[in-house]
Symmetry: none
Subunit: 209 residues, 4 copies
């Protein structure tokens, strides 16, 4: 259904995607206005509904499209030869920051999408979401050097603790940034603080070195 859209000249495609991205990111699914989207994309009302039959399909197309785009960049640029889990997660964090700087609107949209309230759209999102996202989540821990962990550790649960810690830290930083109205506040400071947590986890879960 969106094949029509994909055979449109690049420039117009982008105008439409960006307009929709911003509108949905700012206002959420239900509150976003297709009116505003066509206005800022400088296309006609009818055309939007010619390409995407309705608001929902437009939203899901955006979501799937940018999940793919981000995922691809992630896995192209992430170094999977590094077998130490903490080093790999460190470069993951750095990469994430780079991507946030490269495509801030896309991240805004993905964030707002992940908190979307509208039932109508949440269901449909999850199906594609889980397929792709959870698969990729697994890849993050492929070929990790498990010998570094202390004997007898429950690896899967340990990895969960590590990931939850980093996610918690990341959320905390985002909250701070929001309060200070800085889009992306001093990255170096944040990264140093992240390293402190990573060192704590390393000491706790790795063998004495």
């Amino acid at each position: 259904m969106s094949s029509k859209f994909l055979s449109l000249n690049q420039e117009k495609q982008e105008r439409i995607l960006n307009a929709a991205l911003k509108e949905f990111a700012q206002k959420g699914y239900e509150n976003a206005s297709t009116n505003e989207i066509v206005k800022s994309a400088e296309i006609s009302k009818g055309l939007l509904f010619h390409y995407f039959n309705n608001k929902k399909e437009l939203y899901l197309f955006l979501y799937n499209h940018f999940v793919e785009v981000l995922m691809e960049e992630f896995f192209n640029e992430l170094d999977f030869s590094e077998r130490d889990i903490f080093e790999r997660l460190k470069s993951l964090m750095i990469l994430k920051s780079k991507l946030m700087i490269r495509h801030p609107e896309v991240f805004d949209f993905m964030m707002s999408a992940s908190m979307e309230a509208s039932e109508e759209v949440k269901e449909a999102m999850n199906s594609t979401n889980t397929e792709l996202m959870e698969a990729s989540y697994g890849r993050l821990f492929e070929n990790i050097d498990l010998t570094k962990f202390q004997e007898g550790m429950d690896i899967q649960r340990t990895i969960n603790i590590i990931m939850w810690t980093l996610k918690g830290f990341s959320n905390q930083e985002q909250e701070k940034a929001k309060k200070l109205h800085k889009g992306l506040h001093d990255f170096n400071d944040a990264f140093k603080e992240a390293e402190v947590y990573i060192d704590m986890l390393r000491k706790s879960f790795y063998k004495n070195q």
Copy 2:
């Protein structure tokens, strides 16, 4: 302005609160319909605005009201004489589960409120939010027995790791429950799993015992 409302007979108060709670929880602030609320509360359109001058005040009243209600139950029922942080957090989790069973709609609402996108309402929420909530968050760790932690540990950051882990776990369980369309899936299993994580953290952060 909501004092009018509070001097209303209990039964009608509850009809209105429940109707609003459900509508806001399901659809978020902007998308919730005051029309639906009055219909399901079986009151007239005018009456809702007689009590709460507008949608925003209704929302904020609900939020503040239920924050207070939950906080009170929390701190009345939580055992602060227990000085072991893990034991205290275990009883916190049990208490939380009890409260979720006791007031499921309230929890749905608080969850949706915490992710509310609407700028209009977020600001006003935060002022009361932070005052009360953050104060209470601090109380959770009052009078904790710090001598049990390994020598030289960074206590504050360690507590963060613990909290982020429990939060991550809790979110994971909620996701699972949502997928299985169980409002509250088998609590015992979940609690046993939580205990596993808690034991892992205890082993990692406490002195050898």
Copy 3:
């Protein structure tokens, strides 16, 4: 129907009248809110409708009441022994200014009433209006010294020209005052200017003196 109201203690009567006066003056008949009136009069909703069955009756009561009040003050304080029409009109203008200073809100209300758009109320107003007002208008020219006018003048039409001139001048001054946001701008200047017009009219319409 308003006899009930008149047997109310003075202070409450005035609170109600003033509240209604201000609200109607500011917003006009249709747009005025009985809600605001009862709030600022500090009485209950029901009481207002107990005294005046509906908004329209309240409005008409106000109108008739204050027409009477103003008329009485006018004719009590106007010097009818002065037989020169221009002198009499001069003292009329001075008296009008005094009354505007004495009861500014009443004048605001009467002004807004005279421009009232609502058909519903305009009709009912006119009936009382014409009875009283037009009668009084006639009295202004009772016992005027007609011998001072040039021979052969059409007295009635000459008086019309005089009145229309003074009304036109008065409107012009009010416009100016409104533009400068002065409630009542320098009265002395305005009065001197009025005297210039009066002198012009006197020279034109009176015999050479």
Copy 4:
């Protein structure tokens, strides 16, 4: 924003303009109902707001549009070669009557607009109003033959007296017409009466001829 509207087929434009004209003329700005307008124009609710973003813009469009229309007709049809002020004002009155017969609803609207109470709309009206209207008012007295006035007369004030007289007369005639529920009562009688006043003024202000 109203350019959309202007590129609409004539017949629909007129249906909308007439519907709005009547509603606003009858009830004033605040009390006019956009619902009634769309009903009587036989268009959908949405369409009105597609053309004019809101009630205020619709009102101001109407006002500006018809001020322009009337002004143009006025100055196209008024004879500025006539240098006698009274003759010029006579043809002005005749022209005004013609236009009132040609566009009675427009005059009703302009009258109600000139007495509009709503602050919201008065401000915005005045800016365009004064620019155009006051400029045109000046043109009425361009190239008038001043030599006809008596020596030593204060010309500006004399013109004021003349204009206020004609305006007063005109208002009086309108009041009469309204009372008799004739839209436009016998024009010839009224004009003859106007001529009497004009002759009186001429005799008073011109040199003996």
